[in-house]
Amino acid sequence: MWSRLLAVMLLISSSAAIADGMVVDKVYHPYVLPNEQEFEWRLMSRQTDSNTLIGQRIAYGQSLSETVMVEGYLIGEKTKTEDFGLQAYEIEVRWMMTEQGEFWADWGMLFEVEKQHKQNDWEVTTGIIFEKEFGRTSLTMNLFGIYEWGETIQDEIEVEFRLKYRYRWMPQIQPAIEIYTGEDYIGLGPAFMGIQRFDGQKQLKWEAGFITEISNSGKDHSLRVALEYEF
């Protein structure tokens, strides 16, 4: 059943439009904790034969209830020809739909609206977040539908699929395999995440992954790093 589900998702995702950005980003977990605030920084670097794209995000997030978290992002990008600068801003809402462990799997939803800083170009993303425990391992999957429109871009619908299979070895080091598909891109590679707790609700989470595009020949590597400080 799992192999069929995965095959369908890969097929849907890989039939989407030609790449115009970064597919490698972050695999979302469906969980929300009440009374939580966080600062987040993400770095994504994609290197191909012809271009190097570096994206950074800084964000502030806050849970609004026991099941809903909202996060606002400032997004910056640097390409081979353009210096680093503010590219876009985004608001994101994550909804924990089921209590962790209550059902066969845990489910959540994501809603995002992004606007380009200097153009009247928009992107709306919505999709499903899934997580299932298998002993000391966890399988997390995201399936997102994305609609882009605006003055300088063509209207476009894309589908992205992300997968992380993680071994909860110790809090600080949890190795994983990640898969990203979408925008004519299929990437696969090793990753890890970790967490360090401090007093009370304060904790620092880190994630990193090195993803290699596998469907086309030529160089296409992505490095992603994320830091989250929760308090």
């Binding site: 209590e99 066969w104 425990e133």
Partner: protein, 105 residues
């Protein structure tokens, strides 16, 4: 239809177990639960302040609001000891879930 998919296999009766948090101490500090079964942990926080249940072993994190009962679903688990603590009072608010092969009371 979606809900049927989500709630698959949740129909079986989930056995309930109880913990109390009072004066930042979990009671009983050692709770026995059966192996290979999902169980429902109901925690009554009798304190006037919130606590956060945290366990890497159980892969659970849950805010326990003051004067409220909170529910945490755990398992199915293999036999063994699974530690947990309260993030706000980690020295006193600690306990262990002991997962045993035979049906625990």
């Amino acid at each position: 239809m979606f809900w049927l998919f989500v709630s698959h296999s949740s129909k079986a009766q989930t056995k309930e177990f109880y913990l109390t948090l009072e004066n930042h101490v979990f009671t009983p500090s050692e709770l026995k639960v059966p192996a290979d079964k999902k169980v429902k942990l109901i925690i009554f926080n009798k304190d006037m302040v919130a606590e956060e249940f945290d366990s890497f072993d159980l892969n659970r994190e849950k805010v326990l609001f003051p004067k409220r009962k909170s529910t945490i679903f755990i398992g199915p688990l293999k036999p063994g000891n699974y530690e947990y603590f309260g993030e706000y009072h980690p020295n006193s608010a600690r306990g262990v879930i002991v997962v045993e092969v035979k049906d625990a009371n």
